[in-house]
């Protein structure tokens, strides 16, 4: 059975540990191409995710939603609790500094475990668990170190493959132009495969995306964490590990996100930030002014419902932004 995960913060390794096939719903190749029944006020990413979730549930697969944005949380109300018991809502705590936040995550992790067992998963032997976790850590580390070896689209593709089917082949693309191009960071919500044209547009206009901090980019690999000390038989240390690697805008306070972005902006000499979000996403939209104040860099805010028909508008803005940066 395939288990579709609506967020990179749902531990895919744990799904694998239970002998099931994890797939990042947020990296589904068809995302961005669907035309769900439109309802005003719901972000297009959430709508498409819900449409996909319905389809997957209908054919007997499982879908794991997250509580971290109210569109997806309420989407679960529409899909999960009515349609099938193969849907699960993982309550990711927004706070992260208190014992209660950790306790909540721990409870959810155990509940998630029971869900995986209920849909037919069986936890593998400790030795296999250790191999799966180590392999996953290695894959993420390898991808993290590849940010400057690939064009932005290539890097996004590799990350998407990791989340979609666990593949970690990193192909060097020989025509990466070294250090050419104005270093730019793309920060924001999920950038689906249909929207990677934005990365191409930045590079065509003389930029170089040195930081893809979108929910589906480098940031989705999580905080670089030391390997949990005891993997075998230790739910606690694993849960703590998965909890601690989350870096996202919905955390309260979201200082971890800013610290992580700042570190990379400084080390990669970023000169401009593209803030990307779907129309209807308040969490990211509200950060434009804070990002400007925090980093003192020019910011281009791009929002879209679907990339294809918005293409000319977005390209025009990117070209203008790159002109300013150059």
């Amino acid at each position: 059975m395939e288990v579709y995960l609506a967020s990179p913060w749902i531990p895919r390794e744990w799904v694998e540990v239970h002998g099931l096939v994890p797939r990042g719903l947020f990296c589904a190749p068809v995302l961005g191409t669907l035309t769900p029944r439109m309802a005003e006020g719901i972000c297009s990413f959430a709508q498409q995710s819900l449409e996909l979730a319905r389809r997957y549930c209908d054919r007997g697969d499982a879908v794991v939603f997250v509580s971290s944005c109210d569109q997806m949380r309420r989407g679960f109300d529409l899909v999960g609790e009515q349609e099938t018991s193969n849907a699960f809502l993982f309550n990711l705590p927004a706070t992260w500094q208190s014992d209660a936040a950790w306790r909540l995550f721990r409870l959810e992790f155990e509940r998630f475990t029971r869900f995986l067992e209920r849909i037919g998963g069986h936890r593998q032997a400790d030795e296999s668990v250790a191999i799966i976790i180590d392999t996953a850590l290695g894959a993420r580390a390898k991808l993290r170190s590849s940010w400057n070896k690939l064009r932005a689209r290539g890097f996004a593709e590799c990350i998407a493959r990791l989340h979609w089917d666990g593949c970690t082949i990193v192909e060097s693309v020989s025509d990466v132009n070294g250090d050419a191009g104005v270093p730019v960071a793309v920060v924001g919500g999920p950038l689906t495969p249909a929207q990677w044209g934005i990365l191409d547009a930045i590079e065509s206009a003389g930029g170089r995306v040195v930081l893809n901090a979108t929910e589906t980019g480098e940031r989705s690999l999580g905080l670089e964490m030391p390997r949990p000390g005891r993997i075998a038989g230790s739910i606690d240390s694993l849960a703590r590990f998965f909890f601690s690697r989350i870096i996202d805008v919905w955390q309260r306070p979201n200082t971890r996100l800013y610290d992580w972005v700042r570190e990379r902006i400084e080390e990669r000499n970023v000169r401009g930030i593209v803030l990307w979000h779907h129309v209807g996403c308040d969490l990211w939209r509200a950060e434009a002014a804070s990002l400007r104040e925090a980093f003192g860099l020019p910011i281009l805010t791009l929002d879209s419902e679907q990339a294809y028909s918005d293409h000319p508008r977005l390209m025009h803005r990117i070209a203008a932004f790159m002109e300013i940066l150059r």
Binding site: A39, E40, G41, I42, S67, C69, D70, Q71, R73, R74, G75, F76, D77, L78, E81, L89, N91, P93, A94, T95, S98, D99, A100, A101, R103, L104, L107, R111, R114, W250, R252, P253, N254, G280, C281, D282, L283, R285, A286, E287, A288, A289, S290, E293, A294
Partner: protein, 464 residues
């Protein structure tokens, strides 16, 4: 029964009435006075468009509401510490008021100030300049209020719940923190039904959830309580919290009785707008718990008096409407009645703050249960169940779900609620977006609300 229909008053008519009342010996609290002074003194121009109930009890209610900022300033000058509570509606203030020397208020109550001030204060454009534009809900007004300090005094402690809360509010609060206002965040988990084998807890409102979630919230409230205690210079105890719970229940009991008397009447004795304000007071006592009791007692007395003499504020064939969600423009509540409807019940997003807090269990446990019973914290279906239950009990003929512009949760839950209403009760319902100043949209609003009222009336009479 003779129906004596009481007409609402505009501000000018209230000035005349006020003079009459004063001549006949009206006794007012220290914050009393003519309503029109709030326009001249504070620029509350929206008051000029509203219609008010003409009773001394309503006058006291409005003056109480519109003098909150002054009250907070006096409290600060007298040495009280101020706590700004955000997002949770009705839980943390119970704790704050249990500690002497603390006053709690909701800075996000400023969200309806633009409606009252009809943009003279430019809070919304100023919020946009601070980075939060019109795609967010009117709560964004509080950003400007914090920055300029011209409304409420800046609180000594800011407390905000996070997690199962609406995104736009959460984003605005995070922006506030980035503007330099430190916030104590506490986690509100998303409420869910217990799984088989999981220990259960039954919350007020008969909602069943997992026991562990109550534990989690209780732990968080203990942390919040410690912060409140530090601010007040006291070590909180269960006895202190219990006293707060009892005092809160006194207010809740009064409000429950007021709602029963008004919504249960065949002809409403008090208008929809004053009932909305009365409910909103209850969640944080409008910064004065004792005075809230006096105000609600006055309203209840007036409602009962009117029922005895057969006086009401709507025609006796008014369509009974159950209203869901508060309105960004208070004028909408007047319009409902002007167009032939009457409020027979409400869910203004904080029904959990109206229910009595259990007094037979440890107070933090009781408060945790209350907080988790918040209709916004769980599935929209739970909220729909309660709406259906209450609308049925109120003999509602129609349901209105008001959408708050920019509020991210509004997009989906209205649909869930209306589907449940249609399916279970078979009565018509409509979802309407009500802008902070709805004058320009009045024809659109009329098209929907009047159509709803017409449909409800048609359903009363079978065609020959």
């Amino acid at each position: 029964m003779n129906q004596h229909l009481l007409k609402p008053l505009n501000l000018d008519a209230w000035d005349v009435r006020y003079r009459e009342l004063v001549r006949s010996g009206l006794v007012e609290p220290v914050y009393g006075g003519p309503l029109s002074r709030h326009v001249t003194a504070s620029g509350d121009h929206r008051l000029e468009r509203l219609r008010f109930d003409g009773s001394p009890a309503a006058l006291r209610l409005w003056n109480f509401l519109l003098t909150e900022n002054e009250r907070l300033r006096h409290a600060r000058a007298a040495g009280d510490r101020l706590v700004g509570v955000m997002k949770d509606l009705g839980t943390v203030p119970v704790m704050a008021y249990a500690l002497e020397g603390l006053r709690a208020f909701y800075p996000d109550g400023t969200w309806w100030t633009p409606c009252l001030m009809e943009e003279t204060d430019c809070l919304l454009p100023r919020a946009e300049a601070l980075g939060i534009d019109a795609s967010f809900c009117p709560v964004r007004a509080m950003l400007a209020a914090f920055k300029d300090g011209g409304h409420f005094p800046l609180p000594d402690l800011l407390i905000c719940s996070a997690g199962a809360v609406c995104d736009d509010f959460s984003a605005i609060a995070q922006r506030l923190e980035k503007l330099g206002f430190q916030i104590l965040w506490w986690e509100m988990p998303r409420r869910r039904a217990p799984e088989p084998g999981e220990a259960q807890a039954v919350l007020p409102g008969e909602i069943v959830t997992a026991r562990e979630l109550v534990e989690c919230v209780r732990e968080e409230l203990a942390r919040v309580g410690k912060a409140l205690g530090d601010l007040a210079g006291k070590v909180p105890s269960d006895a202190i919290w219990q006293e707060g719970v009892r005092a809160a229940n006194q207010v809740r009991g009064l409000l429950a009785e007021l709602r029963r008397v008004v919504y249960g009447a065949r002809v409403a004795p008090l208008p929809a707008l004053e009932m909305l304000i009365a409910e909103m007071l209850a969640i944080h006592y409008c910064s004065d718990r004792k005075e809230t009791v006096a105000v609600l007692t006055g309203l209840l007395g007036e409602a009962r008096r009117r029922l005895r003499i057969g006086a009401g504020v709507v025609a006796d064939d008014a369509v009974r409407v159950f209203w869901v969600n508060p309105v960004a423009d208070l004028r909408a509540m007047n319009l409902l009645e002007e167009w032939g409807g009457c409020l027979c019940g409400s869910d203004f997003m904080f029904t959990h703050a109206l229910d009595p807090i259990p007094e037979d269990i440890p107070p933090l446990e009781a408060l945790a249960q209350m907080a988790l019973a918040d209709p916004m914290v769980g599935p929209a279906a739970d909220r729909a169940v309660r709406v259906v239950h209450e609308a049925r009990a109120a003999k509602a003929e129609a349901v209105v779900v008001a959408r708050i512009p920019g509020a991210s949760h509004s997009a989906t839950e209205g649909r869930v609620i209306l589907e449940a209403v249609r399916h279970v009760l078979g009565i018509p319902g409509v979802e309407v977006e009500i802008a902070p100043v709805c004058d320009a949209m009045q024809p659109t609003l009329a098209g929907r609300l009047q159509a709803l009222l017409e449909t409800a009336r048609t359903r009363r009479v079978k065609k020959p």
